[in-house]
Symmetry: C2
Subunit: 216 residues, 2 copies
Amino acid sequence: MKIGILGTGMVGSAIGNKLVSLGHEVKMGSRTANNEKAVAWAQGAGAKASQGTFSDEASFGELVFVCTQGAGTLDALHAAGAQNLKGKILLDLSNPLDFSKGMPPTLFAGNTDSLGERIQAAFPDTRVVKTLNTVAADIMVNPGKVNGGDHDMFVSGNDTAAKATVSEFLKTQFGWKNVHDLGDITTARGTESYLPLWLRLWGTLKTPMFNVKIVR
Amino acid sequence: MKIGILGTGMVGSAIGNKLVSLGHEVKMGSRTANNEKAVAWAQGAGAKASQGTFSDEASFGELVFVCTQGAGTLDALHAAGAQNLKGKILLDLSNPLDFSKGMPPTLFAGNTDSLGERIQAAFPDTRVVKTLNTVAADIMVNPGKVNGGDHDMFVSGNDTAAKATVSEFLKTQFGWKNVHDLGDITTARGTESYLPLWLRLWGTLKTPMFNVKIVR
């Protein structure tokens, strides 16, 4: 499958490496062609890996992963182009973290709004699914590293079929066992505003290699 | 032990019933003496149960549980009186839920603030510990009803000894197994802003009888 990745950071690299290892063709997009980090990633990741602008990447991908820092997400998507994203499933992994006021970061969207909703509103013809934003990059693609893979992931979005496709993708490609459909894209408020707790737990546990398991 | 409970709702009743069943003397406080719900609770809960004003309750309790709706918490505490709460450990179970804009509720404090912090700021001589606000009332006092009690609770507060006392109380009195000290009272932002996710999970799971277990 041809997959586009917006963002050249830890999350983009982790997702890209995993997808290439699974045999997918992956293009990493950044603001400019030949971005240093994107080139280094594409060279290191093998023959199925390539890089280009956000626009190159969005037109390439049948599926698009948003792995940018939250503050840059909407700009990156506008650079990618609504036409290139039209009708496609877009997995939004970004979080509305604001690092400008020191640590821990605060949220620049929340409570009555979310970054997921802003993306869906700005790109109404794209099938936005918020997911994977509640765990560290390494866990996103290797859930088995935590509790034998027995813990929980969430999807939020307005398109039921898109959420089903993403849930199946997370299970078959990354090894997720439990994926909960929380509801429409407004439920991204739930997973995004979990980040403040996640950040404190990282501090308490001294590692980001944890997740929550829903128990009844 | 003499314990005061602010609030006459489901949470206050659940905490009160459990504490009476454990042999504690419990006074439930409300805005006015002889509040109908408080009187009914005290009559039904047995000889160790009593009721009175917020002020009566605060001066009675060696330990005080805040079980009011979030919007009424600070008013209730001001009615209880700073002098009556001085030096005492106050377990803040309330959440800053705003039901005025429809369902699901939004938060009236969060991100750069929390209800726990507002309480600690308003009552600097009281030892505020935010806890139990992440689960349904029945689970607060009966954690064994979920996954055999193997799931997680949090405490936030500026007073380390108070948090240790509360953690021990939750374990020995209510049966909690895992209690994480998240840090100072600003970490209440984490557990309070988990509520939007908790509310969506309730919708998805069709029951509030769940909790999260931290897995590594």
